[in-house]
């Protein structure tokens, strides 16, 4: 047996030399020349020399490493571990901690429970890496139960890892091995944990300590400093609700809450954001004003209504806020045209005449009207639905590689070369046609149609279609994986795409190469959204990463990173006021984030599992509407409520106070619902409109605050 090592070296890639837990120089080795320690060493020496002479360098290295592991007892006999115990080493260690955490004082319990997940993952990975597939699987199935809800996707990806090579190749496993899982514990909690591990050193405490040191980044904070956030009272309250949700600063790419900085030593200072609307071109503004005053004089507004010019002034008035607007120089746009003037005029008009939604007053939400467009005979082949801004066109992207516009479905069927996953229209507004001879033939002028449409597909391309000629104008190739999402800038000209190659890219329509590549996500970038001023892009990623990142398009850098989702991010929408962004995942949770402070505002639950495909905000940013796979359109109140207050760390205590001051109204209503215990939907859901067996793929607020929803009927 001792002379066997050379042959395996040729097939070294098949399995590790220690497969099956067989150590070469074990007691079973038929060593005939006396069992002295010296002779054993000699034998190793001889074999090593032989190997190096023959050039089996890898086998030699392996042997050296393994013989180093073997400790010798007093007689010079190698001490071998019982294989069975070795395979169960991590399992035992994990169990020791688990049992301890389960029985610990309540004040530590909730924070220490959070440490179990990373420990579980690492124990599993280590067991597999030690070549114990059977034990690894047993451990996995035995202990996965508590994580089924929150980490189901990660569990699915991990569940089939059976060999050390798989650990090397699996994305999730690599993510956990190469990054440090960040976790915040109170000082006392962490100290008790370490103390406990030291007393249990022989029974696995050492192993766990090793994991904590090598793979976890435990931050300790003083409980007194955290104050309310993780104080006793807070913990008690939490027990009924959010226990399962990860904290804002927890997770793989541990970051400073509110900053995009991945370096743990960086200061927590926030990047200043430019959240004010993009200033208008001076020429354009003059033109629009002239047009509006002409309109006002020819058609004076009804009694009590403001004139269009007043409305416009109010809109562009620079509010005395600390928001700065991005400068037009940093984001160049092509010069405006007559069409832009007409569109601006129309927007002002619609803004004045819109149905106003004032937010939740006295517990009763505003009455929102929803028009539902249901597609029939789709056979579940519709991947996405998109409505144009002027409400005249709807487009569907299907699995059969075509993006058809229903109104032109017969005459023009666009052929792409893979399932179409996203569509986006260039901006437009329903401009009324100029009256000819006293009456109009069409309600809208041909000018109001969107000019272009983008489609993204599994064939890794993005295509630009002209809606004047109904042809494909440009194919943008740069991504090297399916492109999951594409979205036009609110001002046109630029667009952003998100792909399975873990990048998001920024493009401008006239150039076939991307202008910016936003790299940083650790898994597929699933969805992309624009800030209303066009200076920032939001991206959301899937399993493994689950973060939402905000990128500045002028600098091409990350401005914010938000962690807290437990599922794949399926939709993002930024409020028209530019201060809040909403994100949804496929576990049915919607989270609101404050951009300025970079903190979680609140978590909203209610949708069933299966994905919230679309989100949109009312014009006033007071109401959020969502549509998803559970056949419903839901309307949400966005006022921050007290219960779901952001968890804040000591460093940013001041921020929490500001948030606390803004919490109003909704809090009272929230409290009532909370008292009834854990229920299916949070109290901020204003209404829930069920559709008839039609998953809702798209919801959109028009400029007049009407909700347009699109879905496919799946009998």
């Amino acid at each position: 047996m001792a002379v066997q090592p050379p042959p395996p070296s040729r097939t070294g890639s098949v399995g590790p030399a220690s497969a099956g837990g067989m150590n070469t120089p074990t007691a079973g080795t038929p060593v005939s020349q006396g069992p002295g320690a010296g002779s054993n060493q000699n034998l190793n020496q001889i074999v090593l020399e032989y190997l190096s002479k023959k050039g089996y360098s890898r086998t030699e290295a392996m042997l050296r490493r393994e013989s180093g592991n073997v400790t010798f007892d007093a007689n010079g006999q190698p001490i071998t571990f019982d294989d069975k115990f070795k395979g169960r080493r991590w399992h035992e260690a994990y169990n020791v901690v688990k049992v301890w955490v389960d029985s610990i004082l309540d004040i530590y319990k909730s924070e220490l429970t959070r440490i179990l997940w990373p420990l579980f993952v690492h124990c599993f990975i280590e067991t597999i890496a030690d070549c114990f597939p059977g034990e690894g699987r047993f451990f996995f199935n035995e202990c996965r139960k508590p994580f089924d809800d929150e980490h189901s996707d990660d569990l699915r990806e991990l569940s089939n890892i059976q060999e050390p090579e798989h650990v090397q190749q699996n994305d999730i496993a690599q993510l956990y091995r190469t990054n440090k899982y960040r976790l915040t514990l109170s000082k006392m909690g962490f100290a008790t944990l370490i103390e406990f591990l030291e007393t249990k050193e022989g029974e696995g405490g050492k192993s766990i300590n090793f994991l904590i040191n090598n793979h976890l980044d435990v931050r300790t904070v003083d409980r007194a400093a955290i104050g309310g956030a993780r104080g006793l009272q807070r913990l008690m309250e939490e027990k009924q609700g959010d226990e399962q949700a990860p904290a804002e600063d927890e997770g793989i790419p541990g970051h400073h809450p509110g900053s995009a900085n991945l370096n743990p030593d960086a200061t927590g200072a926030l990047h200043r954001l430019q959240l004010a609307p993009l200033p208008m071109e001076v020429d354009l503004m003059d033109d629009v004003k002239a047009e509006l005053s002409h309109e006002d004089s020819s058609r004076p507004p009804r009694q009590g209504r403001s004139t269009l010019v007043e409305q416009f002034e109010q809109r562009i008035k620079v509010e005395p806020s600390d928001d700065t607007a991005p400068s037009r120089d940093s984001i160049p746009f092509p010069p405006s045209t007559a069409r832009d003037v007409a569109m601006e005029v129309q927007k002002v008009k619609e803004n004045r005449d819109r149905f106003r939604i004032e937010g939740k007053t006295g517990g009763v939400g505003p009455g929102v009207s929803v028009t539902m467009f249901t597609f029939h005979n789709t056979f579940d082949s519709v991947n996405c639905i998109e409505f144009s801004d002027d409400n005249t066109l709807a487009a569907i992207g299907t699995a059969e590689s075509s993006a058809g516009l229903p109104s032109f479905i017969i005459t023009t069927t666009y052929r792409a070369f893979g399932p179409v996953y996203a569509l986006s229209f260039s901006p437009s507004a329903a401009i009324p046609a100029p009256p000819t001879n006293g009456h109009t033939d069409h309600p809208t002028s041909p000018d109001s149609h969107p000019r272009y449409m983008l489609s993204s597909s599994a064939d890794t391309t993005i295509r630009l279609w002209s809606l004047d000629t109904w042809t494909n104008l440009v194919v943008y190739r740069s991504h090297n994986s399916p492109v999951w999402d594409v979205r036009f800038c609110p001002h046109g000209h630029y667009f952003a795409s998100a792909s399975a190659d873990r990048t998001a890219r920024l493009w401008s329509t006239p150039q076939i190469a991307p202008l910016r590549i936003f790299a940083g996500h650790d898994s597929d970038v699933e969805t992309v959204a624009w800030h209303p001023n066009g200076a920032y892009v939001f991206t959301g990623a899937g399993v493994g990463d689950k973060t939402i990142r905000m990128w500045s398009i002028a600098q091409g850098t990350q401005a914010r990173i938000f962690t807290g989702h437990a599922g794949n991010i399926t939709a993002i929408a930024c409020a028209p006021n530019g201060h809040v962004v909403a994100s949804a995942d496929d576990k049915g949770v919607i989270i609101l984030w404050d951009l300025r402070t970079g903190r979680l505002v609140k978590r909203m639950r209610g949708h069933g599992a299966g994905g919230i495909w679309s989100l949109d905000w009312s014009v006033e940013s007071t109401v959020l509407v969502s549509g998803g796979a559970d056949n419903s359109v839901r309307v949400w109140d966005v006022q921050p409520s007290k219960e779901t207050h952001p968890k804040v760390n000591g460093e940013n205590g001041g921020v929490a106070k500001i948030d606390g001051a803004t919490a109003n109204g909704g809090a009272a209503a929230g409290k009532v619902a909370k008292a009834k215990g854990r229920e299916q939907s949070t109290a901020d859901m204003i209404s829930d409109f069920k559709t008839k067996k039609s998953p809702v793929y798209k919801v959109r607020f028009t400029q007049m605050n009407l909700v347009v929803a699109g879905g496919a009927y799946l009998p």
Binding site: H376, T378, S481, A629, A673, Q680
Partner: protein
């Protein structure tokens, strides 16, 4: 140890000529195969998610393979889920395989083309108006209590919330439609009585019962089916046809019955009696008896249209469309045309006559003249002319009293104009009638003038 059976690996190894594989290697490979498969599945799930679907398709898997740089599997492209067959290769050892049907080539070639899948289309409806979900057929039925709760913005009651959250899990009760013995007996008796040619008294008693009895709701579908059956199989018997129509009339008369859901089932039978090609047996019943049946059917149809037209927006247009189609088909006999004209007049009224009949009269005249020339058909054609005139009369009733007869020429010139407008036969008749009002009504066929 692994789900994937290591023996599979041994089999594959043997098939490519590797006779002996180490046990460890085999197990290792089996575990690797399993991992690779889960990798493919995880990628495929990603495609499923982005397709916003809940079922994994073969296309997702081939997309995933492509993404992982593996050659896709061909031959599994299908929009339908695969069917799996099960076979037993030993006790407790089921073997699953993809069912691959044997297709007879001859049959496949001669089989008619499959139906073209329906074109994708879309409809719009109000899902909510000012925060309230209207209860229209496009929206799902909601428990009013939970709807109220949702509107208030707090689903405080967890059970209610659960109900509203899981309402797509509808349990369809598989209860059979049970008819009591009495009702069955009643149904048989009524049907027997109605078709009993010899016993007038018996028959009228049956109709009276249908007209007034209150507990017949369960029997409606059976009666509708009965009528449909009798009408389709007894086109030669004027008696059965007219009895069937009377049966329907009786049901319509019954105040306690709610017939709206059955109207779509009733209308075809009536239309058959109205515009059927050959109704009755001319040798036995005479050549013109069927006109009476058509008259009766037309009045029945107009009654239904009046009663249920408002609740179903498509009912009237549908009837009118099929009538018009028959009217314009010159290959149909005059009886059909008669029925069609009658139906149109009854359903659509003066407006229908003006919009649908009047413009077509000129072309129809050609056919009519031929009929008039043919002795065998003259009588039938005459009926059609009568029907048309009757239709034109409704025009007269509807017409705005303009009294601008001075706008029209007199005498032959007038006749010429009339003939030009509505054709020779009808124009002549209208002129002969000499009624100024009627002439006016016909002449001002174009309301814009």
């Amino acid at each position: 140890m692994s789900v994937w059976n290591p023996e599979n690996v041994t089999d594959v190894a043997e098939s490519i000529g590797i006779a002996s594989l180490n046990r460890d290697v085999v197990e290792h490979l089996a575990r690797d195969v399993e991992y690779r498969m889960s990798q493919v599945l995880n990628e495929a799930l990603k495609f499923m998610r982005h397709g916003k679907r809940t079922t994994l398709t073969t296309q997702d898997v081939s997309q995933a393979l492509r993404l992982l740089d593996v050659e896709p599997l061909y031959g599994y492209e299908s929009t339908r889920p695969l069917r799996f067959g099960e076979a037993s290769i030993g006790p407790g050892q089921p073997l699953f395989y993809v069912e691959d049907e044997e297709v007879d080539f001859e049959k496949l070639i001669n089989a008619p083309l499959p139906k073209v899948p329906r074109e994708m289309s879309f409809t719009a409806h109000w899902l909510a108006v000012e925060g309230v979900q209207p209860s229209i057929p496009q929206n799902p039925l909601t428990d009013p209590r939970s709807a109220e709760l949702a509107a208030k913005g707090s689903s405080a009651n967890s059970t209610l919330a659960a109900v509203s959250g899981n309402d797509n899990v509808t349990v369809k009760p598989l209860v059979k439609h049970v008819l009591s013995k009495e009702l069955q007996l009643y149904f048989e008796r009524i049907c027997g009585a109605i078709l009993d040619e010899g016993n007038d008294e018996y028959r009228s008693a049956a109709f009276a019962s249908l007209r007034t009895d209150t507990g017949l709701h369960q029997l409606i579908p059976y009666f509708v089916q009965f009528v449909a059956d009798k009408v389709t199989h007894n086109l030669k018997s004027i008696f059965i046809l007219s009895q069937s129509m009377q049966l329907l009339a009786a049901l319509l008369d019954n105040q306690s019955l709610y017939l709206a859901p059955y109207v779509p089932g009733i209308v075809p039978s009536i239309l058959t009696c109205l515009v059927g090609k050959h109704l009755g047996n001319p040798a036995m019943d005479g050549a013109t008896t069927h006109f009476a049946l058509r008259d009766y059917s037309a009045s029945l149809l107009s009654k239904i249209a009046r009663q249920y037209g408002p609740s179903s927006s498509t009912l009237k247009p549908r009837i009118a469309r099929s009538c018009l189609k028959h009217f314009l088909d010159s290959h149909k006999p005059f009886g059909t045309h008669y029925g069609a004209v009658l139906g149109l007049t009854m359903i659509a009224g003066a407006q229908g006559v003006r919009a649908l009949i009047l413009p077509n009269l000129k072309t129809y005249d050609l056919h009519l003249r031929e009929g008039m020339k043919d002795d065998g058909k003259r009588e039938q054609a005459d009926y059609v002319v009568q029907a048309i005139l009757r239709g034109l009369q409704t025009l007269q009733e509807d017409a705005v009293v303009t009294a601008t007869s001075n706008g029209h020429p007199e005498g032959d010139a007038l006749k010429e104009r009339l003939v030009e407008a509505v054709g020779e036969v009808v124009g002549g008749r209208v002129y002969d009638s000499g009624r100024q009002d009627l002439i006016n009504a016909v002449m001002e066929k174009d309301p814009a003038v």
